[in-house]
């Protein structure tokens, strides 16, 4: 009886570990396999690895890594579900959920017949909107009262 209870305890504990790892922690057998795509941006504005990649608001993958490219642009490696067929003129843009929320990558599909292959580069990209810059522009244009600001004239 005692051994049976110990066995039950160990099984329950292992089940809890498995639940936490696979259901909550998001560990999967598949690994990072999928459609690996590359996109270069001028400004990523706080995008982080493991950020979501979405199409029409539905999560289809995540950002694998972010590095600086040779031409000093941000090179973002994306992991997208392998089953997806994306045209070569797909646009990748960095969006923000809400006003100050997390950054994510949104893909807008193009109309070409040819499809992106694993490792391909997404040519059309749209950089992140940095809120401080937008506010800065707003302040400058508002402060000058419609007239040309001296700083902008220079």
């Amino acid at each position: 009886m005692r051994d049976f209870l110990v066995g039950c305890f160990v099984l329950a504990g292992l089940a809890a570990v498995a639940y936490l790892s696979f259901q909550v922690g998001g560990l999967s057998w598949k690994g990072p396999g999928g459609l690996g795509l590359v996109a270069n941006f001028d400004e990523i504005g706080g995008l982080k690895p493991r950020a979501q990649v979405v199409i029409a608001g539905v999560k289809v993958g995540q950002v694998r890594s972010i590095t600086l490219d040779r031409d000093y642009r941000a090179r973002v490696d994306l992991d997208v579900d392998a089953g997806l067929k994306l045209p070569v003129d797909t646009t990748a843009s960095i969006m923000t959920s809400g006003l100050l929320g997390d950054r994510y990558v949104s893909l807008q599909l193009g109309g070409e017949q040819e499809m992106l292959k694993p490792g391909d580069k997404i040519t059309f990209t749209e950089s992140a909107v940095v809120l401080e810059r937008v506010l800065g522009k707003l302040v400058y244009s508002g402060g000058s009262g419609g007239k040309t600001d001296s700083k902008e004239a220079q």
């Binding site: 110990v6 160990v10 504990g13 259901q23 909550v24 493991r50």
Partner: protein
Amino acid sequence: MTAVVQDLGWLAVRFVVDLGRLATFGAQIVRAAFLPPVRVRLFVAELFKLGVLSLVIISVCGLAVGMVLSLQGYNTLVRFGAEQSLGAVVGLSLVRELGPVLTALLATGRAGSATTAEIGTMVATEQLDALRMMSVDPVDLVVTPRAVAMLSVMPLLSALFIVCGLFGGYLVGVGLMGVDPGAYMSSLRSAVDFRDDIVGSFLKAIVFGALVGLIATYRGFTATPTSAGVGSATTSTVVVASVTILIFDYFITALWGV
């Protein structure tokens, strides 16, 4: 003035000597754990005492902590209109901190003190001396199964605590406060990462298990062989182990966390 400095020096020397003895004791346990004979029956008996008997307190506390966390979190988040991320708040607090730390503290109170009292009583009634007379190493026969059982029980208890807590949080958040079940689960899943959070959580639980096992058996083994000595050894186990757990928690978080 000189006396104060002398006392301080004596305390420092005693602390270092105690630490050294603890390390030697730990090394003896590790050696006994890996060398034959493997004492499976004793190990299972300890799993029952440390694990199954702690199950009730662990699951009840996990449930209560999860429920109260959800309630407090909801009342704060709703001010910012962010009650959709309740799952992330409950999940991250439970997995990263509360699960391993509270489990270790509860297990210290429930199982660690019992282990110290048991070994201390054996010392007081000269049972360990009797074992030595028969040339049986008490570290091998009495101490090692208990320390190893504590080490292996802690991650399992911690996982059960977290699952109970998540269930309690879900119950209050979704059932009582009316958060959308889908939003609760999806914010929980997207917030908790496997490497950063789950692995870190189990690492903490394993380290705490080793610490509690080591301290509890050491205090029992070195208890003064009187009734009062066993009592003070038990108290000392709970105090020392709790403080050690909290200190180690800080450093594991600082070294592992992002």
